[in-house]
């Protein structure tokens, strides 16, 4: 039984979507952004966020750089690449066809 806050493999989609609207977020900000925009429903497990970010970086969807913030803290910030934008589009359409299908089942069954 999955937990209600489980992302069910849609972590990539959420990260890409948020980075497309607000490029230059670091890992912690990404996590809180997902939490906030989903109305505290979706929670990202901290242990799985970074492996996912590095995997997407290796796939060439996002790129990262180290910056020093005004507060003097260093942070690794992420933004979308051109490939990432394409990936986002295909993930979005996959997601909407998936939810549409699930909805159909819910309506008719």
């Amino acid at each position: 039984m999955p937990k209600p806050d489980s992302l069910q493999g849609s972590l990539d989609l959420l990260v890409l979507k948020i980075l497309s609207r607000r490029p230059g977020l670091h890992g912690y900000a990404l996590m809180t952004a997902i939490q906030d925009t989903s109305g505290e429903v979706l929670r990202v497990e901290e242990g799985s966020l970074y492996p996912a970010l590095h995997r997407m970086e290796e796939a060439g969807w996002i790129r990262a750089e180290w910056i020093t913030k005004d507060s003097g803290r260093r942070a690794r910030i992420y933004e979308l690449t051109a490939t990432g934008r394409k990936q986002l589009a295909s993930e979005e359409s996959r997601w909407s066809s998936l939810t549409a299908a699930v909805n159909r089942v819910l309506r008719t069954a």
Partner: protein, 879 residues
């Protein structure tokens, strides 16, 4: 790009770790700034090591990462057992080096396609059938008029190319008058274009440079000659040189890597075939015929067409034959045309050394297997010490595949280090071995490039070797059952059984190498001590030529003049030295009968030559200066046996073509062209003798034989070379050799085989002994508690020795027996390389057996002493 960055990441794994850690650090700081409890965040992250591991798996290739880790672990392992590792690496290096140098030589002579455009379309022609000596043979020489006829006949299906046998000739560049030697090859004008070769400088021959006999005095030089002789001077075009009585002009330099079509000889100068002195003769076979088959043309009809044309040509020519037995004529006319692929070119070196090289390849492979067995044994012994480590690794979750990988990587390190050292060894030894093949006068040159082929072979060999000796220990290590291994093992003897099997294998291979080496050494020994029928000591052979041929009397005057040089005892003349490579034969008949089907061999000599060569006169007399005309001959014993059924032939006559010849003397047999074959029926005739129907003959080249007083005849070489032009200014000595060298050249191949086989036998014995020592030493160490207990309860030293060595000597005996059987089987296929040696001789079998037993006894001595000296008290206390 991603793959590349993942490979690159594997090599910057430390900085990757730092990056992951600092990102985690920055996350924690953000969390603290947001007011969260740090402990809770850390808990949410889980183990930082696992976190790091997950990211690393995403960032780099996990297998490459683990490979790197295993690799550095393997190096640590090798460093830990320094002595064993060095022994393993060095013994393997010796074997890999031997294999690599053998490969380089075999590749250069037999396997490597010559650097032309389409070597796979290149074929060589030859004719096979029963030859004049009544043996089945294959000969690839052809006469130029026949070539022209064949070329025209098949021009729509194939391009025919004539390329002469390379000759080492004297020439002088007009710029500096000194005489020098160069390898010369006459080629038809279409060769360069058909081979797709381009000029490096100037231009190359075309068919229009090869239209009329003696009308095209042009030369193309090879890139190699251009580099060595002219230091790549582009001004070389237009330079001229004298060769024989012709002045040639250099018109171009051929493409860089092309050195002719004869592996073993690097051609210096190419000349048009039309400039060859025998180009119009239909009875002089001085060139090979190569064929480039056009795409889509089937081979067999082409071959049949060539055969029909060449047979027609010979039938036409045979009409003028006189004095040939009917059967010989029929055999001659029914020769079959052979069309064989020749992407590697064709050379005598290939033909002469193919079986020897094959034998060599087998010997080095055996040495390699022995070395592999050695290393496998060393690794198995080490693996026993690491059984617990492996068991522990499995217990905490290492996969079998990962364990195999770990052990194999260690093997790969050993093999790679050995390959590197071995390659260095080969870089030195391959040219060294080639220099052994070479007769000193005519240094055959083999192009031995260290290119992709050699690299590929080296890598393939390394991988193969790794698998041969590494896979077994690796599979064993991975098959460990942790629970029983940690308790001490189910079957403590299994490892020893493996090692004993390997020892038996080693002994079998070692026996085989020793056995074959013994046969080669004995062959060489027999040949080297063969009587040649004359005394070659202190004899100098001076091949001499003059551009304007002279009467025999002029030659005789020079021979007399040479006798006045201080240090010269005797001097005489002949057409060509015994064992010098030239032979001349003819059919004879007796008292008007039909020509006899056994060929007689002729040699022209001056009076005193027999005495100088110390060929004993058995009956009759030597020639006299007054013996002119065609009528006299001196024959040898074999001649008397063959044609006069053993009667004294002095005073009898025989006919050669139209001439009647009187035998005036009988001499002892002497080797004519090969020390190996039975003595040939030989006829000596006066040097100045002419056929009855011809004018007094002018002679362009002949050979002076000089016997010196001193033991080193070559010390007179310079003086004699200078003295010949002093006697007659236009005469030139083209070559000086000692008769002893000519005799020794006959056994070059056997000497090479004997030397190398002896070397490999020594290496094989050394490796097998090291292996035996290692295994015995290991088993004594492993059983030291058992030995200690046995001694404590009163076992005698002899009993201990028997227990320690019984198994292994059984393995040795088994191995030797297997080796013996293998040896007798394989010796049969090597028969052509042996001379008067029977593989089944008791001495041939006893020698390797005794050597191996002695080596085994010696190798086991330290371990046995160690076992006997075991102090039971000390052993039982420590454990």
């Amino acid at each position: 790009m991603s793959l590349w960055s993942r490979i690159a990441n594997a090599f910057r794994s430390e900085s990757l770790n730092r990056e992951i850690d600092s990102e985690l650090e920055s996350h924690l700081e953000e969390a603290r700034a947001a007011g969260r409890d740090l402990q809770e965040v850390r808990r949410a992250f889980g183990s930082p090591l696992r976190h790091r591991e997950q990211i690393r798996d995403a960032k780099l290739l996990p297998w490459l990462d683990s490979l790197g880790a295993d690799s550095s672990f393997a190096v640590r392992q090798l460093k830990k057992h320094k002595v064993t590792s060095v022994a393993a690496i060095l013994s393997l290096a010796l074997a890999i080096g031997s294999c690599t140098s053998a490969f380089r030589i075999i590749d250069a002579i037999l396997l490597r396609p010559i650097p032309i455009k389409n070597p796979q379309n290149l074929y060589a022609t030859s004719r096979e059938g029963i030859n004049f000596s009544n043996e089945f043979s294959n000969f690839d020489g052809s006469a130029y008029p026949m070539f022209q006829q064949l070329r025209a006949a098949v021009s729509d299906q194939a391009e025919l190319i004539a390329i002469s046998y390379s000759e080492r000739m004297d020439l002088a560049f007009s710029s500096d008058q000194a005489v020098e030697k160069a390898h010369i090859q006459y080629v038809s004008g279409n060769m360069f274009a058909a081979f797709g070769l381009n000029p490096a400088v100037g231009r190359l021959f075309t068919d229009s440079d090869n239209l009329h006999p003696r009308a095209h005095p042009y030369a193309v030089i090879s890139y190699d000659f251009w580099s060595q002789r002219f230091h790549r001077d582009p001004q070389v075009i237009g330079k001229t040189f004298h060769l024989g009585d012709t002045i040639f002009e250099i018109i171009g330099v051929s493409e860089k890597d092309f050195t002719g079509t004869e592996p073993g000889t690097v051609i210096d100068i190419f000349l048009p075939t039309m400039m060859h002195p025998s180009v119009t003769r239909d009875d002089s076979t001085w060139h090979r015929t190569f064929v480039i088959v056009k795409p889509g043309v089937p081979r067999e009809p082409l071959r049949a067409k060539l055969e029909a044309n060449s047979q027609a040509f010979e039938r036409n020519r045979a009409k003028s034959f006189v004095g040939m037995p009917q059967q010989a004529l029929e055999n001659f006319l029914n020769q079959r045309e052979v069309l064989e692929p020749a992407p590697q070119g064709v050379s005598g070196l290939q033909h002469d050394n193919r079986p020897a090289l094959a034998a060599l390849a087998i010997l080095v492979s055996l040495v390699l297997l022995i070395a592999c067995a050695n290393v496998a044994n060393l690794m198995t012994a080490q693996a026993s010490a690491r059984g617990r480590e492996m068991a522990l690794r499995i217990s905490i979750g290492a996969g079998r595949a990962r364990l195999i990988q770990m052990v194999l990587i260690e093997s790969a390190w050993v093999a790679t280090l050995a390959a590197v050292i071995g390659t260095l060894f080969a870089a030195w030894s391959a040219p060294f071995v080639v220099s052994l093949i070479n007769p000193p006068d005519n240094p055959a040159r083999l192009i031995l490039p260290a290119d992709g082929r050699v690299l590929g072979f080296g890598i393939a060999l390394t991988v193969l070797v790794t698998c041969v000796f590494g896979l077994f220990p690796a599979l064993r290590a991975s098959a460990i059952n942790p629970s029983s291994e940690l308790k001490g093992g189910d079957d403590p003897h299994s490892r020893r059984r493996v090692m004993h099997t390997l020892v038996a294998l080693q002994v079998a291979f070692c026996f085989l190498v020793l056995f074959v080496a013994g046969l080669f050494v004995t062959t060489f020994h027999r040949l080297a001590h063969l009587s040649v029928g004359f005394n070659p000591d202190r004899l100098l052979v001076l091949s001499t030529a003059t551009p304007s041929p002279q009467l025999a009397i002029v030659w005789q005057q020079i021979a007399d003049h040479l006798r006045s040089v201080p240090g010269v005892q005797k001097s005489a003349l002949c057409d060509s030295a015994l064992l010098g490579g030239n032979s001349s034969n003819d059919y004879i008949s007796i008292s008007g009968g039909r020509p006899i089907e056994v060929l007689a061999y002729f040699r022209k000599i001056s009076p005193g030559w027999l005495d100088e060569m110390q060929i004993p006169l058995l009956s009759g007399r030597d020639f006299l200066p007054s013996d002119s005309g065609p009528s006299v001959a001196i024959v040898n014993e074999t001649f008397a046996k063959t044609y006069f059924s053993g009667q004294n032939p002095v005073g009898k006559t025989f006919e050669r073509a139209a001439d009647e010849v009187v035998v005036v003397g009988l001499v002892h047999d002497a080797s004519y062209r090969s020390i190996r074959e039975l003595h040939l029926p030989t006829v000596f005739i006066p040097f100045w003798q002419n056929r009855s129907d011809s004018e007094p003959k002018l002679i362009g080249d002949a050979t002076f034989i000089v016997r010196t007083a001193g033991d080193n005849p070559l010390s007179l070489a310079q003086a004699l070379r200078a003295e010949v032009p002093n006697a007659r200014s236009e005469f030139r000595v083209s070559d000086i050799r000692t008769q002893l060298e000519l005799v020794q050249d006959q056994t070059v191949r056997e000497r090479l085989l004997a030397t190398l086989a002896f070397f490999f036998a020594a290496v094989a014995l050394l490796l097998a002994s090291i292996g035996l020592y290692g295994v015995l030493n290991y088993s004594v160490l492993e059983r030291r508690r058992e030995i200690g207990i046995r001694m404590a309860v009163g076992a005698q030293a002899t009993d201990i020795v028997r227990r320690v060595t019984a198994d292994i000597f059984l393995a040795i005996l088994g191995g030797a027996a297997a080796g013996l059987i293998l040896g007798i089987i394989s010796a049969r296929s090597l028969q052509s390389l042996f001379y008067q040696v029977k593989p089944t001789d008791l001495a041939m079998l006893a020698l390797p057996s005794l050597t191996i037993l002695a080596a085994a006894a010696l190798a086991s001595l330290p371990a046995v002493l160690n076992a006997v000296r075991t102090d039971p008290v000390q052993i039982l206390r420590t454990d």
